[in-house]
Symmetry: D3
Subunit: 336 residues, 6 copies
């Protein structure tokens, strides 16, 4: 099977153990993650060949980050080792009504300083069937956005499916260009996008019609009109009952109709980070494997739900585990 290729920054994630707060911990647990890399790793765990393209500083920390994805079976052979520092983020895990918190420390990372010419996308994508990127990559630096633009162009030419999690994070856009100027051109090249109502408004000024009964559908319809290449808009609807209890539903507009899945309650949540990336990986897996969009969407949200029970950014659930949830068994009954 041909590869799914993803592109973006991988950060070292540093978390106090358990529910400890930053000001009371004496140690930090390391995992590594990044929106797009998490998709690649989740796919590798689901048995789909996956490669991730990124840039690390040429030091032991960069090597450790690369090795952590290599361990999960992601093809990291396109990694560029060049630059000064590894992007970091600090995560404090909440509980009940206390929110989890992220402190980013990612500016001036090796990835942000990546030069587009370091990446030969013709070569990288030659065995690929799908290319996935996120709005975060475009937010990091002008050069990262340019590399993304290059990749999408090559992917289109090679007839590769392109997906994006548009994922608007206001605080990240600090290199002098506006998301509203950069993103539309990139999204134009996509077949599938993950886009919430908030993102659609913030990035494209698209709001639900006033009298709609289904705000997501209304927005998604406008998106596919604005971006003709885009055929599917997907998202998860997340009810945040507490830091320990969320409820997820998968939603989709496929150009014709609105589709949704059942809701999944997750309680307790072990680790909420990467839940969206697990959803996307599940959707790519489902799209490549199942005959119907409903099946793909259900697999996606079940995969996302399971991710919340797993430590770290990456969904380590197997196909069999996701399919058990898809099949209606959320009992968590002991397997001997």
């Amino acid at each position: 099977m041909k590869q799914v290729v993803t592109f973006g920054e991988i950060m070292m994630r540093l978390s106090p153990p358990l529910n400890y707060r930053f000001i009371q911990t004496d140690s930090l647990e390391i995992t590594y993650g990044g929106g797009d890399a998490n998709v690649a790793a989740s796919l590798a765990r689901l048995g789909i060949p996956a490669a991730h393209v990124t840039c690390f500083p040429d030091n032991e920390l960069g090597q450790a980050a690369a090795q952590s994805f290599q361990r999960l079976g992601v093809d990291m052979s396109h990694t560029v080792f060049r630059g000064e520092r590894l992007g970091l983020y600090f995560l404090e895990v909440g509980a009940s009504m206390r929110a989890s918190k992220i402190v980013y420390d990612r500016f001036n990372s090796a990835f942000a300083n990546l030069q587009p010419e370091w990446l030969n996308w013709e070569e990288i994508l030659k065995d690929a069937q799908w290319f996935h990127w996120t709005g975060i990559t475009a937010a990091v630096s002008a050069t990262a956005a340019q590399a993304c633009r290059d990749a999408i162009k090559v992917a289109r030419r090679l007839g590769i499916t392109v997906s994006a999690d548009v994922n608007y994070r206001r605080n990240l856009w600090q290199y002098g260009q506006k998301a509203q100027d950069v993103m539309p051109e990139l999204v134009e090249g996509c077949d599938v996008i993950v886009c919430t109502e908030g993102d659609a408004d913030d990035l494209f000024g698209i709001k639900p019609e006033a009298d709609t009964s289904n705000r997501f559908e209304s927005v998604a319809k406008q998106l596919v009109q604005r971006f003709p290449q885009v055929q599917k808009v997907i998202a998860t609807n997340r009810e945040t009952l507490s830091a320990s209890h969320n409820r997820l539903t998968g939603i989709m507009f496929n150009g014709q109709e609105y589709i949704e899945t059942q809701a999944y309650d997750i309680v307790p949540i072990v680790d909420r980070i990467g839940g969206g990336d697990a959803f996307i990986a599940g959707f790519i897996y489902g799209s490549l494997t199942y005959p119907t969009e409903q099946a793909a969407l259900t697999f996606a949200v079940a995969a996302s739900a399971l991710k919340h029970t797993i430590h770290g950014d990456v969904n380590l659930a197997t196909v069999a585990e996701v399919e058990q949830v898809v099949g209606g068994d959320t009992s968590g009954r002991l397997l001997r």
Copy 2:
């Protein structure tokens, strides 16, 4: 008070910390357990003299296993140290809809190679009042089944109460004899058995009558008819709402009537392993202590519920703690 004696394999249990998956852990936590040994240890904690009979390899791992039960007050003086390896099992603890998983690595253990003649049951049982075994022991090897047969025979002759958890595990029966051939003879010698509907069907071909309103009672009635020595059939009814939330009810047929307890919700579950063994230990304690079967059954299921809040295979709840739950206080209010 005379001893309760149990017989069976003790394994080293190896679990990743917290909810980590096998493929992401760098360490494993050790506890030791075995279906029958857990009963002995739980009884010791409840103040009932208890001895366990088993076989360990003559190395430091076998000694560590023996010492772990010695620590809990179980008389391990009958242990045979002989043979090659300690049986192991690996446990991954799930959460929410993600199931816990066990990978067994117990074949060719010292216990499986135990020779019946190494055990002098007349001597072992001379101060006993109760002998308990499980279907797992009979499943491990022909020689273990034979030792079990010997023990039951001696126990009957000495007028000792015999109980069994028939506990059918298809995967374990690999030594060339069928459970369906071996188990009936062993169960014939028992006074009390733990047997679910599934076990009754698998082992004895006994199914609930077609039109019964109480399937357990229907099966249990047939069991006591088939095995005249058996006077009580008990079980827990477990609703598995998720890996983190179960609901338990104690059920019993005493030859005349069906008895059940209230249901206990356990949320969150700390450790579900050994819940059934805690139930049996509770029932033995209750039978030796309380005037009514209802009281014994209620103590048993309350003990089992508390076990789910305790790490490891063994129920470390005290009589006072179980009685508080029996008395209706499940508030977990802080005790100063």
Copy 3:
């Protein structure tokens, strides 16, 4: 802003990790706490200058205890280092229907042997606006009670607000005087008291009127009649659904009317210890900051609820976090 000053013993708290029982742990986690010191530390975290007055043995353990509160920003410069041993308490954390347990080991501590003349309250309180103490301090020894009496007297003279958590613990009163004899005189000097129905009965023989529809209000009315200086009686109403799930409501009688807050569900509970102290700190903060008693009380109970999600005796929630809960957001939504 002038200081809040608190007075009382700080103990080393020793807990098995996670939900381990005392008899199965090989290590203990250290935090430090004491009913009144917790109030000071919570206030410091809320940005209120706070000092705590106590006595530690002149050894490395006493220094470690002092430093742990220094770390949190509490002014520990009045600490007396003199005496033999540091008070200890051992905490086993329960789950579901299994209760948490405390084993105290605090007799003959340096604090209990504190001599009143070692403390110069005129000096200590010269920059203070509020003095807080608890019934535990009065219970520890005759000399501690005397020091408390001295402090209240000076505080009254200096026009400082005095609050007390009357907190009756029968087991502690072992120095030959009765709480019923000692406490009334001390409470006479207070402006605000935390007092439950049980405390009112045990300490002052005050019971709710027979036909009242609001037992707390009934008791509180009698308290303010009996102690004219007392203007507010506050408490939390705690529903203990399980060791992992509590529900809290703030209640108050202000001399005229009964006020209560909404109820907050806390599930799962990370650490229940110090929940009452967080409530008091929240109430002091609120009283110094907000225009209405309702606002102060709501802040207090929201602070207490958040404390239950934080490890250790001390509430490490910030003003912003408490205000978010006060504002109705208990969703625990991830903050990036």
Copy 4:
């Protein structure tokens, strides 16, 4: 084989991990130990039946302490559970020129309040061949000293060998009697004593003769003259090169001649505590097993050296391991 019986306090030992200092640790590791109990446990590990007599508070901490020695195979069936608190000691482990430090917190322990009449020595010693005690037991309280006196009397009557580690610790003697008054009567009943030059001077006013070339021999000769029952005086000569490097030699006076062993270098030291107790256990083992005093003494010092490589108060070296060192192999070569 008949039992060796020991008598004395067991404390919970609490140590920061690794070489952390008290003021920088957030956790403490638990082991349990006591001078005489360590001897019993070391003997049990060497295959000698051993019982220990002590008193614990009737709470979970006392049970945990008892279980820790039960785990090691010590007969704890004579334990009295009565009283208030468990004795504690805090240990900070040094390195290189930084010394390890102990902070004791053992006053008013359950053991110190033990009443002599709670112990039936006739019963306890009926299957014993050897009784061992230490000067620490006599130092703890008048009642503990009395119980020791009782035990020695019964042991003498039953013809049981009695040994003592006289071990003078000035700080401990606080109950109003002087070691110099109490100890001589107790030592009179002993066959073997561990006594250094310092102890001999402090306790009995015995100093080496002015012109002796062997100060230990000189002192030991005077001891056996003063206490005619004493037949052997033993000790280790410890050169403390650093907290990480010690050198040990076993020395002995057997009434006729001075015997010494080779010196053993221990580098690095894993845990120095209990080194003396391991020496005594080794000497008792050797006395019961080997034909010559030289062999017993060599076994004793080799056992002590190995103890320094093992975490905790108790020597967990086996007979085979000690004999390997005795045989001259200190290479620590990997055993497969």
Copy 5:
């Protein structure tokens, strides 16, 4: 650069933390290793493309083992996932005169049950320049030995260099054939062998000549005469001063002359396991990179020395680090 390919079993290694003994630990740290796989992983770290061929059970434990080498950059794409159990070994780490101990639990592993026909050596070795195996692989089972025979045959035909660590372990040979019958045929196909005097005697009956001044040279000369394909015999000379202090020298006979390196003192030893494998990987690296045998041998022993300072079976030292030691800097001076 073409690959180095290695073949053999990878086991899960389970060790108590620090210097804890098996009977006192509650957790085990996981690493993975195997004599030949360690060579591959060490080479990957040195920048040499390396692949390892092995067989794991088709479960999560097998996957975890494979991923651990994937993480280190070893090509694991030839892994066969088939069979029942993962081989294990338990390692207790000694100190000073206390030896480290290994308890193997590797019989009936998936690797031992590997069938030769599952491996297509023509395919596996098509891009290789070097093939390395160990005597342990030949010891595990007749089928493993046969697979090794197949591999050597193909390697010879393809003109690939073959090396072996003959490594005789008496206890492992339990499948009915003798090492003395199996090994000669396999060694015949090798260009380079690691063989100590003891191995030469045990496996081939070759002893040093009576009057030789260099026993290793004498043995090595006879080996190259007996096995004409063998051109180099190498070994490390290890002085075991204690479990914490070893001294290593590299020695070699190249058919013409005896070569040796300086001696390296390692103190303290962090982890001695895999020291020999690091030596071999260093020698392969050196042979592929340096112009002289002396340079290769010096690199090999310096690499081995550094391995002793690194936790786990695999040498994680880089080329730069080894070269610094080769260059004479063993000062361990802080690098900023």
Copy 6:
């Protein structure tokens, strides 16, 4: 006593546990340190009032860093909370011939962006008797260097002693000015400097005279000539035998004569970082306390030696501990 004030960056230090390498760790231990702040904290531990001036980002990580020094008794009330990120450094701890390694990640830190006008040195230094800074502060940014210049100026005016560790780190100087241009002006204002031969050459072009028998003295003489305010040049002479074994000697030129101390062997080294800062703190303590320079220097080097046995950047040795080493006792004998 008046305060010692220090100025400079405090970084979060992140280290794998024990001797693990960066590429094999899953967690990092946190301590905080900075060359000048370590001096303040060490002085606080020695009982000298100490304040540190720095700048942290206004987030929870900055607060944690501030609290860690507050815990140690350093007056942190002058801290400016402003800016984006906390400086970090990653430390891998070596052993034997494997060097420890530091990866810095400190560019663009809040401290580097500190503006001189944020600091009111008249106010900060009004109660000070000594001001200490390091060359690292001058290297971080032009604004930090300017703030340092301001401080020195004010200190001189107020008659405060000024000391500096000139500490040249080539890699740090990246803001466009040369150390050789910046440092001389700053050093001109100092009374005491720590300066090695290498520093003197790199920063000031001062080399030992060709034929000198004491290179340090030769360099120091030239320094005091060049900088007339400087009265003492001090340093430690460190022999790096291995990462686990160093030997330290204190050396000094006081304008008239060369003084040195005995050498101290440290084996094993627990943590080498901050050894130089402990030396300086020791020298400041000694200068303020002892009558002779020899005594001050000996105290300094003994303090530094002890620091190597303590985890973290800060010397937690007490005056009593240092004096014991000064007094000649490096035996590390157990203190009860």
